[in-house]
C-alpha cells in the first residue's frame, strides 16, 4: 500500500560518525549506566569539532544562498548526495582518492547549482512563498528519486582507503586521520571562502547584494550574476561536503535529508545570512551531537536535534549572530 515507503527517512543510519573509524567503547553508553569519564567527554568534543567542520561547510553554503537570495532551498542536502555518489564513482572506476575529488566535486556541483538557479530558482524568486517552497521541494523529489532509480536504495561507501584505519592516540584520545584531513580541508575551504568574500571584488559584491539588493543594483552590480554565483558557490560547498562525506560515511539517496535539516538548524542558530554564524553553529552542533550521543540514548539523537531546532525557531529566530529576519 505504501506509495513511497522506501523513501521515508529511516533512522537506521543515524549512527555516531566516529564509530566507523574508531571503535571506542566509551562512546557506547546508553545514558545512566556507564560512568562517563572526562576523557570520553573530551573525545566527544574533539570528534564533534571535526565533524562539525563538515556541518559548517554545508551550512555556510546555505547561509550564502539565503543571505543573497532570500530563498529557502529544501533540496540543499541532495546536491551533497549527488557529489557523494560522484566521488564514489570516481573512486570505483578511476581510483581517485575521495579527498582529491574535492575540487572536481565542487566544480560539478557548482555547475549544477548554476543550472538549477537559472532554470528553476529564478522562475520562482518573485512567486509567493508557497510556490518557492514547493518548487525546491519538487527539486528534492526529482534529484533524490533519480538517484534512487540510478543507484538503488542500498547505501554505498568507499572501502579500502589505505589510510582509513589510521588513528593517532595523543593523551589517550583517539583521532582518526581521515577526520583530521577532512577538518583540514574544511578549514582550507573556509579560508578560501573568507578571502574570496572579503578581498575580491566579486566577493564583496556578493556581500553587498546580501545586505541591500537595491543599493547593490544602484552600484552597478549585476544582480542576476550574483544570484547565479551565490547559488553555485553555496551548492558547490555542499558538493565538497559530499565528497568528504563519501570518504568515511555511507552514501544513499536519503543522506541529504539529514544534512539538510541539520544545516537549516545551524543556519537558524547562527543567524540567517551570517557565514560566521554558520561556521560557529556547525561546530557547535557537531559537538552537541557527539555529546548527546554519549550522554543520552543515541536513537533519540536526531529527535533532540530537531527539537532544539524547533525551540530555536520559536524563541530566537534571528539566531546568535544574525541581524536580519525575513
Amino acid at each position: 500500500m505504501n506509495i513511497s515507503s522506501d523513501t521515508d527517512s529511516r533512522n537506521g543510519y543515524g549512527n555516531v560518525f566516529i564509530h566507523k573509524a574508531c571503535k571506542n567503547e566509551a562512546e557506547n553508553s546508553y545514558g545512566g549506566q556507564v560512568m562517563v569519564s572526562a576523557m570520553a567527554i573530551a573525545q566527544a568534543v574533539i570528534s564533534g569539532l571535526l565533524i562539525g567542520s563538515l556541518y559548517s561547510l554545508i551550512s555556510m553554503g546555505l547561509a550564502l544562498i539565503w543571505g543573497v537570495m532570500d530563498i529557502v532551498n529544501f533540496a540543499h542536502g541532495d546536491f551533497m548526495m549527488v557529489a557523494g555518489y560522484l566521488t564514489c564513482i570516481l573512486f570505483d572506476y578511476a581510483g581517485v582518492d575521495p579527498l582529491l575529488s574535492v575540487p572536481v566535486a565542487f566544480a560539478v556541483t557548482f555547475v549544477l547549482g548554476i543550472l538549477t538557479q537559472r532554470f528553476v530558482i529564478d522562475r520562482v524568486l518573485e512567486a509567493p512563498p508557497v510556490s518557492q517552497i514547493f518548487a525546491t521541494f519538487a527539486l528534492l523529489m526529482i534529484i533524490r528519486n533519480t538517484a534512487l532509480l540510478i543507484w538503488g536504495p542500498k547505501p554505498t561507501t568507499i572501502t579500502g582507503l589505505w589510510y582509513a584505519e589510521l588513528v593517532f592516540r595523543p593523551y589517550g584520545l583517539t583521532l582518526s586521520l581521515i577526520h583530521i584531513l577532512i577538518a583540514v580541508i574544511c578549514m582550507v575551504t573556509t579560508a578560501i571562502l573568507y578571502i574570496f568574500i572579503t578581498r575580491t571584488y566579486t566577493g564583496i559584491a556578493l556581500r553587498a547584494t546580501s545586505q541591500n539588493r537595491l543599493a547593490a543594483r544602484l552600484l552597478g552590480i549585476d544582480i542576476r550574476k550574483m544570484y547565479l554565483l551565490a547559488f553555485g558557490i553555496g551548492v558547490g560547498l555542499t558538493g565538497i561536503g559530499g565528497a568528504l562525506l563519501a570518504s568515511f560515511y555511507y552514501i544513499f539517496p536519503e543522506v541529504g535529508a539529514r544534512f539538510c535539516m541539520l544545516s537549516f538548524m545551524i543556519v537558524v542558530l547562527g543567524g540567517f545570512g551570517s557565514l560566521f554564524g554558520a561556521l560557529v553553529g556547525g561546530l557547535a552542533i557537531g559537538v552537541l551531537e557527539e555529546l548527546s550521543a554519549l550522554l543520552v540514548n543515541p536513537a533519540l539523537k536526531d529527535a533532540i536535534a530537531f527539537g532544539i531546532f524547533i525551540l530555536i525557531l520559536l524563541f530566537k529566530p534571528t539566531g546568535l549572530f544574525g541581524g536580519r529576519e525575513t
Partner: protein
Amino acid sequence: MSEALRKLKMELKGPLSLILLAVTGILITLPLLVRNPFLINTLMLSFLFGFAALAWNLMAGYTGLLSFGHAVFFGIGAYTTMILLLWWRITPWIGMLAAGVTAGLVGFVIGIPFTRLRSHWFALGTLALGEVVQIIFINWRAVGGARGLETPIMPQCLYWLNFVDPTVHYYVIMGLLGVELFILYLIVNGRIGYYLQAIREDETAAMALGINPFKYKLISITISAFLTGIAGGFYTARFGYVDPFSVFGMMYISINISIIGILGGIYSLIGPLIGALVFVPAAEYTRAYIGSHFGARFYGIHLVAFGIILLAVCFIVPDGIMGWVERRGYIRAILGHGEEGVGGGE
C-alpha cells in the same frame, strides 16, 4: 452561518446541483456496477487523502500556514483509534471521533507557539516536528515502537468497521467526505473564512481591521488537526495496522497531502479533493503498472514524475487545477450566475 447556508442554497439552485447529483450518483452506484476491488480501493484511498488534504488546506490555502508536518495529526489519530480498539475494545466509530478530538487538542497545543512563525519558518518547523514525532513513536515501545500495532482478529461487521472488501469503507469515507465538505463550506463562507483569508492576504492590514491573527490561526490549526485526526482514525479502521513509518511518514503522508493540495488548487475549496482524485489513482495505477511490468528496479520513477509535475505546477499553474479552471471561466459558465464572494469575478 445563515449567510453561508443561504449562499449554498442559491448555488444549488443552478446547474451545479445537477452536476453534483450526477457525480454523487455515479460514485454511489459504482461498486454495484463495477466489480473491481482495486478501483474501489483506489477511490477509497483518494477520498481518504482528499479528506486529509481538505483539512490541510484550511491552514495552507485559507490561512497561509503551509504545513509539512500534518502526518503528526494523522498519525496521532491513527494511533488513538488503534489504542482504543486494542486496549479497550472500543469501536472505531467512536475511535475516529476520539482520534479527531485528540489530534485537535495536539494541534491546539502545538499551535500556540507555532503561530508566531511566518511562512518559511512555519514550514520548516512543521517539517522538523513531523520528524521528531516519528522518531518518538519509533522508540516508544509501549505503543509498539518500530513494529507498530495491529488490530486483533475481529468479526467482519459494521460495528468494528472491519471488512476485507473495500466497499463499505468506500461508502463510509465518502459519507465522511460529504460531511467534511459541508462543514468546511460553512466555515470558509462565514466570519472565520473571511478572517483567515484576510490573515493570509495581509496580516498587518488584517490586524488594523480588528482581527486577532493569533486567535484565528489557532482556530484554523485546531480544526485542521481535528479533521486530519479523523482521517488517521479511518486509516486504522481500514488497514488494521499502524506503524510510525507509514502513519507518521513525511513522504507518505505529509508531502503527499501537500502535493495533492497544491495540484488541485489551494485557493479553492474542492481543489484538494480534485487533486486527490487525480493524483492518487495516477499514483496507484502507475505503481501497479510499473511494478508488474518492470519490477522493483524502477521503483521511484513515479516519484520523479511527481516531482516534475509539482515543478510544472509551481511554474505554470501555481493555483493548481482549480485555479486554471476558474481562470478559464468554466466555473462561471457552468454555474450560470456571476461568482460573488472571495476570489470572485472581475
